[in-house]
């Protein structure tokens, strides 16, 4: 079996006001992973460690078979990186940037760069400082894609884009996904973007990976069950309940281990299942984060009581 394109094993990084804690993550070759977290959750720190720009305090990171940060030069030959906070040189033209990178990357694909120029409606003689935000993101994406990287790392690339530009950027990303050898890590707090292009999803919150799985697995297993209970009946004990909402005799259960057999189990226990709602990735993310935070707070409370 092939080594994963990206592998994090027990990675930790401490800052005065933020800790990235015990990150374990594998990104198989050819997969597209959506890396979802709220602002300040640790997405960018994780990606900077992946790129060798920040050194982890503990744990090992391998990218395309290279140990990071020690072998970052070799790894970065095969990585295309676009980040929300990455800017190109405003005083230079896009054509100058293309020429600059063409000399550095042996696999630079000039015909593809020209195709992307047309598709993104960019002009190589345009100065970067004259481009709109959307055009700058497209320019950065062009410069990353035309390297023909084996790994594409996109850190919140669609943040701040208008809907049309976002649609175009995502469309182009979907087009490059046709290449099955290319691996993509796409970080965002916008679950809609991630849902469109990813086949794997990882949630990160407060510096910890809280869940990681196939997108379809998330969408299949997470459900909201709207129940009606008979008077004085207890809630049925179901597997994977992460949240109980609703009220009194009309509870709403959120489960991350849904099985159609649950419906008949509820009926057998006297409850009526009024509806089984599918959940969007955003709803799953929010429920997941809420559930983990509640669990963590509960565990901390228990520890304090024990002490």
């Amino acid at each position: 079996m092939n080594d994963p394109a990206v592998s994090f094993q027990g990675v930790a990084k401490r800052y005065p006001h933020f800790n990235l804690d015990n990150i374990n993550l594998d990104l198989p070759i050819g997969s597209i992973m959506g890396f979802i977290g709220a602002n300040g959750a640790g997405k960018s720190t994780t990606i900077r460690i992946l790129m060798g720009l920040v050194h982890q305090d503990r744990g090992s990171v391998r990218v395309l078979g290279h140990a990071m940060p020690e072998q970052q030069v070799a790894a970065k030959q095969d990585i295309g990186f676009v980040s929300e906070d990455m800017r190109l040189y405003g005083a230079a033209t896009l054509g100058w940037h293309i020429e600059f990178l063409r000399q550095i990357f042996p696999r630079w694909d000039q015909p593809y760069a020209e195709t992307l120029l047309r598709r993104f409606e960019l002009k190589s003689e345009q100065k970067i400082k004259g481009l709109s935000h959307g055009q700058r993101v497209k320019a950065a994406l062009l410069l990353a894609l035309a390297r023909r990287p084996r790994l594409l790392v996109l850190d919140e690339p669609t943040t701040g884009l208008d809907p049309v530009a976002r649609h175009e950027v995502l469309g182009e990303l979907m087009a490059v996904l046709a290449d099955e050898e290319r691996t993509i890590l796409f970080s965002s707090h916008n679950t809609l973007d991630v849902e469109q292009i990813s086949d794997q999803i990882t949630f990160i919150d407060r510096g910890r990976i809280i869940d990681s799985n196939d997108k379809e697995m998330f969408l299949d297993r997470w459900r909201r069950l709207r129940l009606q209970l008979p008077p004085n009946a207890a809630l049925p004990q179901l597997p994977g309940i992460v949240d109980i909402g609703g009220s009194g005799r009309l509870p709403v259960l959120t489960t991350n281990r849904f099985d159609p057999a649950m419906v008949s189990a509820c009926n057998d226990m006297g409850a009526t299942v009024q509806a089984v709602d599918t959940m969007t990735l955003e709803e799953i993310f929010v429920a997941n984060v809420h559930s983990r935070r509640t669990q963590t707070a509960y565990e901390m409370e228990r520890q304090e009581v024990t002490v």
Binding site: V54, H55, V73, K76, G80, F81, Y89, W96, F100, I104
Partner: protein, 223 residues
């Protein structure tokens, strides 16, 4: 060390700084023309303009190539390239030094030539060389602080201290008898004190460069 990559990064900075360099060369040429026109007022005005242009272009290069790369968020673009931080540091330090050497050498050569052809003040040459090297050391210091501190505030503080120190050092050097007494005389007299001062300045430049590599190599976070 990937020297080819270091070279590419230096050429990139050269390209991006080409207009300030060109304008500084034009400013320097104007200053030298004023000096060449003769007269004490012209000489004083020309030298002040020349020093101002040299100090300004040095500070501008040191700031633009270090702190501004971080401030304008182009550092992430550079560091996404197959380059290590050691190579990046080498490119920045050598880049500031080599790019600044273009106007520096031009101005130094121009000033020395002008003074050489005005035989009554040939004695000024040691003072000019010492102060020119001091400006070079100043520029290296600003670039080093910019790279190491990554802070615009600290870099501007060092820039201001450096410029004040330049005036103080100029005053002090001009008052060293073995240098100051011969400044406005027709004979060039290169004293052991002048050699000592020049050697100290060169040693300081080497220390600044080595120190920058040392401190940069101990960093763990670059973005």
């Amino acid at each position: 060390m990937n020297y080819s990559m270091v070279k590419r990064l230096i050429l990139k900075d050269w390209y991006l700084q080409r207009w300030p360099i060109l304008f500084s060369l034009l400013g320097g040429a104007l200053a030298l023309a004023i000096v060449a026109k003769g007269g004490q007022a012209g000489f004083t005005l020309g030298i002040i303009l020349l020093v101002t242009v040299l100090v300004t272009i040095g500070a501008m290069l040191a700031m633009n190539l270090t702190v501004l790369e971080r401030k304008e968020q182009t550092l992430a673009f550079v560091m996404s390239l197959p380059v290590s931080y050691r190579e990046y540091t080498a490119a920045k330090i050598l880049g500031v030094l080599l790019i600044f050497l273009v106007p520096w050498l031009a101005f130094m050569a121009g000033s020395i030539a002008l003074i050489w052809f005005a035989p009554e003040i040939r004695g000024l040459i040691p003072f000019i060389v010492i102060m020119g090297t001091e400006i070079l050391a100043n520029t290296c210091m600003i670039a080093a602080v910019g790279l190491i501190s990554e802070s615009q505030g600290w870099t501007i503080t060092v820039l201001m201290i450096g410029n004040l120190a330049l005036n103080a050092i100029g005053y002090a050097v001009a008052h060293i008898p073995s240098i100051g007494n011969g400044m406005f005389r027709p004979h060039l007299h290169w004293s052991p004190t002048a050699t000592g001062l020049l050697a100290t300045e060169v040693a300081i430049i080497c220390l600044i460069l080595a120190g920058t590599f040392f401190f940069q190599s101990r960093k763990n976070d670059f973005l």
